[in-house]
């Protein structure tokens, strides 16, 4: 059981305080003379000196070697001195209370409430590292999470149990989009809740996210974890794990559909790199640690569904590609783990379109399982495929127009240019607080598409085009 006011849990009465700190280097603390300390154990660090910064601090054991333990201190080692620092170990990897009490709360990146409310109680507690889900017990993802964002719902439908990242660049409104998705997504009529884990957010961004999510939080459907850019960097290593641990319990014990938004994973990976560099580990690509793939996978893979259970965990990581480079290790490794990607484009953004999604570069690999007859609407998959095909054609036409001039295009090609403009303005573009239901989205899609003559719509079953034209008249 978890003590009421102990999160992250305070040192147990049985545990020993050690004071033999031998080394302090970057975020690392090396303590000598310990016994029985296990790898990955959680620790509490304090100091007897006055005014030495945050206390108590928290740490995780990175290595044990005979009577030495190397500990990463989440709040950093600033202000700590060798002779006045003490450390005690909890005897096990970090566990947190889990339960519905988290919903409606706002906490820092370590899970401590910062909303002035009472401490969080749990039904029971669970290790933040989680356990791997037996792949033989997984159910393939199915059915949609509807985000109310046309560009996503129509073309890269988010499926319950999927992991679908948003790839963005600096300066694009990915955080606004992530917050909007968190604020307005639903799983139809089924119980749904959202966990938003913000990592390395500026205070202005954090406040904006908080304002967007206020209503949902007040309704008790949302947990907000915020690690701001000036909060301890290493705390970010914990933030997504807390989010996912709470989510797994809500989904698989309490039968809810849980959407976990992780923003920004690039900040998370930087924290990981900082620890790795401090430990003098062999750097991998762009000096990120060689285990970045496994580490990211240990987060993203916690999405899914389990056979015989009704809940699901859907993960939406948001990451900024440094210098817009999709081959950078963070987006690259993320892309290898996740099931598709939603790509935001600076070009689309420059045309004043929100959200600036590039539908051709985006893909939801599991869309087939989340959309279509019995899931969304009968015409959804065909309509999406035809629209994307037309968009690809329109893009070629636009390139041609840049060489030969739009006036030299034939009538059909002119219509494609018209279609592309309509597509962005009437379908993709929407207001920041606007939630479009799926019917609205797909109807708009039809309206935009039927700018093109019926003979161009070869991917749609002919009956479908006629049925729609009749309906429209």
């Amino acid at each position: 059981m978890t003590e009421p006011d102990a999160f992250p849990r305070a040192p147990r009465s049985l545990s020993v305080q050690y004071s033999g700190v031998a080394e302090l280097r970057g975020p690392l603390l090396v303590v000598r003379g310990v016994s029985g300390v296990g790898w990955d154990e959680f620790a509490t660090v304090g100091t007897t000196a006055e005014g030495a910064g945050p206390a108590p601090r928290h740490g995780v054991v990175l290595e044990v070697d005979r009577d030495l333990a190397v500990v990463q201190v989440l709040e950093g080692t600033e202000g700590l001195a060798l002779d006045s620092t003490w450390i005690s170990f909890s005897g096990e990897p970090l566990r947190i209370p889990v339960g519905p009490d988290w919903l409606g709360r706002t906490c820092n990146g370590r899970g401590d409430p910062i909303d002035g409310g009472p401490p969080i109680f749990g039904v029971h507690d669970a290790p933040v590292a989680g356990y791997p889900l037996n792949p033989g017990r997984r159910d393939p993802p199915a059915d949609p999470v509807l985000t109310g964002i046309s560009a996503i719902d129509a073309f890269t439908t988010l499926v319950r149990g999927q992991k679908l990242p948003v790839f963005s660049s600096a300066g694009l409104p990915h955080l606004e989009l992530a917050a909007q998705i968190a604020a307005q997504s639903t799983a139809g009529v089924e119980p749904f809740c959202v966990i938003f884990a913000g990592m390395g957010l500026t205070h202005a961004d954090a406040d904006a996210v908080r304002a967007t999510l206020d209503e949902r939080s007040a309704a008790g459907e949302l947990l907000l974890l915020v690690n701001t850019a000036d909060d301890p960097v290493l705390e970010r290593i914990l933030t997504p794990r807390i989010a996912l641990t709470v989510a797994e319990h809500l989904a698989f014990e309490l039968d809810r559909h849980v959407l976990v938004v992780l923003a920004d994973m690039t900040s998370y990976a930087e924290a990981l790199r900082e620890v790795s560099a401090a430990r003098g580990e062999m750097p991998g690509r762009r000096t990120y640690p060689g285990y970045l793939y496994s580490d990211l996978a240990s987060l993203y893979e916690r999405c899914g569904r389990i056979r015989g259970k009704t809940g699901s965990v859907t993960v939406l990581p948001v990451l900024t590609m440094p210098a817009g480079d999709i081959t950078h290790p963070v987006p690259d490794l993320t892309g290898y783990i996740t099931e598709g990607q939603i790509v935001l484009s600076a070009d689309v953004h420059a045309r004043g379109i929100y959200p600036p999604v590039d539908p051709l570069a985006s893909l939801s690999r599991l869309m087939r399982r989340g959309a279509g007859p019995g899931r969304t609407r009968k015409d959804h998959l065909d309509l999406a495929a035809q629209t994307l095909a037309a968009l690809a054609r329109a893009r070629q036409v636009r390139e041609l127009a840049e060489i030969v001039g739009a006036s030299a295009l034939n009538a059909t090609d002119q219509l494609y240019l018209h279609f592309a403009a309509d597509f962005e303005q009437r379908l993709v573009d929407q207001l920041r607080g606007e939630r479009r239901d799926l019917d609205q989205t797909l109807d708009r899609c039809w309206d935009v598409l039927t700018v093109l003559p019926a003979r161009e719509l070869t991917m749609l079953p002919s009956g479908m085009v006629e049925a729609h034209t009749r309906k429209g008249r």
């Binding site: 296990g38 005979r66 037996n134 033989g136 393939p140 690509r285 240990s298 893979e301």
Partner: protein, 582 residues
């Protein structure tokens, strides 16, 4: 802990943990422990393998999460290398990297949770009688209902002599011995160290195709039984989809699918798909000829490293029974990364991009376990290996991709541009290769398809020529090319869209027989020949281009997988339309 890994001999020398750094653990006090031997760490007995011995200190790699493991905790030596238990329960099952059944494991893989022990029985059908003299690899009997094929019980390697005892036909518990050969008890299952190749009588080099059911592979970059192929492709190039198609439709007898550091949802997908598919050969579920080894990316990293070897060992086990087995490993890059992560923790000097210097030799040794052989029992059988490679950032010069190319017989390069244009399977015709093609051509000409070699040659040159002219047309406009060259461009389009693309979601097109593949290609060639002669006769290229070729383009999707007649009918229709232009 499952008995197959955990059980150690009583009274084994006890050591102590002295250092823990993730999966790298150092221990002391285990005198006489050997390299590659298994030890049990801590009170839970987490399995770990010895990787270095320096005086009294021994380094091991742990196969489970080592959270909570502390210096001073006990270590037990198990006195044997990492071994897999190979038995009839493999068929249709799902296992982790150490070949422990996941079906019997809990939903959450907590290393301290106990796995339920299942007590199964098998039907035994003896094939020999007591008193005869048998040699290693001989078939003693079979379990007819183990899965989609007969599971055979063999005389173990290194054992021969008088068959002292053999159980009568009937039902026996899985752990019961069914025979005794020269004092050695033989049961349904056998143990084998996964890092050691199972012995064979000899390797043979006659080649026979392994059909994948994918046209681009079978026609352009074919694979022989017992050969090996690498499949490099960046993310989103449809690598997993292609491998799953091969798993479902290839002509091997036993399919071992290794999900190595990949997505859990994908494994769920494979499982559901295979459980739904009816095996065209047996009428039972396709899953019953399949063994799935799943070590997803969030499962312990060192077990990911072993899963590749475990997979090949399982395939060799079925090969020894006389079957053609195939190992499909997705992805070998994750295996290499596990090697790298561990060597970096153990402070080994890094070679290219931080990978250990032994990476190329480890890759070579892995692909060398493929081969067509005469088994110890004297029958021809094979292990074929297909390994996916996930180059970071799509960079094909990175070490795993670069070295894999050196050791495989065929390379199926997945191209990002093709995938972006939704051309699936996105196997690039430039940059891919098959070193089996020449010999397979000989096989085809002896086995009823003498045209095969010529067809492949024409296909290759047309595609290359169409690509070259396509680049030119992008500059000068297709309209300014001469008629014959415009026909080549048309040929490229017909071959790409009507032959090479294949829709994995269509029941007709998910797989394609060799005959239908040949018929489709020949139809395109016949159409082209007529187009060429029309040009010679002065018909304008534009007129030829404007013909509706959709009957040809849709032939693959609209005729059944072996629908040669349907293709022939469309061929006549197209040729008639062309004749109308004269």
């Amino acid at each position: 802990m499952d008995s197959r890994v955990a059980a150690g001999p009583a009274g084994a020398p006890a050591g102590r943990v002295i250092r823990v750094n993730g999966p790298l653990v150092e221990i002391e006090g285990l005198a006489g422990v050997a390299m590659s031997e298994l030890v049990g760490l801590g009170t839970q007995g987490l399995p770990a393998e010895v990787v270095a011995i320096r005086g009294r200190s021994v380094s091991v790699q742990a196969y489970e999460y080592t959270g909570g493991l502390a210096a001073g905790q006990p270590v037990t030596a198990w006195g044997r290398p990492l071994s897999a238990q190979l038995g009839p329960e493999l068929l249709g099952g799902i296992f982790d990297g150490l070949l422990r059944p996941l079906g019997a494991a809990p939903t959450w893989l907590d290393p301290s949770a106990r796995r339920s022990e299942t007590h199964r029985t098998w039907n035994w059908q003896p094939m020999l009688t007591e008193g005869v003299t048998v040699s290693e690899g001989a078939v003693l009997g079979a379990v007819p209902d183990a899965g989609g094929l007969d599971y055979r019980v063999l005389v173990p390697p290194g054992v021969s002599g008088r068959l002292d005892r053999i159980a009568a036909a009937g039902t026996y518990a899985a752990e019961d011995p069914v025979a005794a050969v020269a004092g050695c008890l033989v049961g349904f299952s056998t143990q084998w160290p996964v890092r050691r190749a199972r012995p064979v009588r000899e390797r043979i080099y006659t080649e026979e195709p392994l059909l994948t059911g994918q046209r681009v592979l079978d026609a352009l970059f074919p694979l022989a039984l017992g050969s090996s192929a690498g499949v490099p492709g960046g993310f989103g190039t449809g690598k997993t989809m292609l491998l799953q198609q091969i798993a479902k439709w290839c002509t091997a007898d036993v399919i071992v699918y290794v999900g190595c550091g990949e997505r859990g949802n994908e494994m769920a997908d494979v499982l559901t798909d295979l459980a739904d598919l009816v095996d065209p050969r047996t009428g039972r579920r396709l899953a019953e000829r399949t063994v799935i080894i799943a070590n997803t990316s969030n499962m312990p990293i060192m077990a990911r490293e072993t899963s590749i070897y475990t997979g090949v060992t399982v395939a060799e086990h079925f090969r020894d029974m006389g079957y053609h087995a195939i190992v499909i490993a997705d992805s070998t890059s994750r295996w290499a990364e596990a090697l790298r992560e561990f060597s970096s923790r153990s402070g080994a000097l890094p070679a290219e991009e931080g990978y250990p210097a032994a990476l190329p030799s480890a890759l070579a040794a892995f692909y060398e376990r493929a081969g067509r052989v005469v088994t110890l029992g004297g029958v021809e059988a094979s292990v074929t290996i297909i390994g996916a490679v996930s180059p970071p950032g799509g960079d094909v010069t990175e070490p795993v991709t670069a070295h894999t190319q050196r050791f495989v017989r065929a390379l199926w390069n997945l191209d990002h541009e093709l995938a972006y244009a939704r051309h699936y399977p996105a196997v690039a015709w430039s940059g891919s290769f098959s070193r089996d093609a020449e010999q397979l051509g000989v096989w085809y000409s002896r086995n009823g398809d003498p045209e095969w070699v010529g067809r492949r040659a024409r296909l290759t040159s047309l595609l290359a020529e169409a690509d070259r002219l396509g680049d030119l047309a992008d500059l000068v406009g297709a309209g300014s090319l001469p008629g014959h060259e415009r026909v080549v461009l048309l040929a490229g389009r017909l071959l790409r869209e009507g032959v090479l693309q294949q829709n994995g979601l269509s029941a007709n097109d998910a797989h394609c027989s060799a005959e239908k593949t040949a018929a489709l290609i020949d139809t395109v060639f016949a159409v082209l020949d007529d187009c060429e002669s029309l040009i010679d006769d002065g018909v304008a290229a534009a007129e030829i281009e404007e013909i509706d070729y959709s009957p040809l383009m849709r032939a693959a999707q609209e005729t059944p997988p072996d629908g040669v007649d349907g293709v022939a009918e469309r061929r006549e229709r197209m040729l008639a339309v062309l004749a109308g232009l004269r």
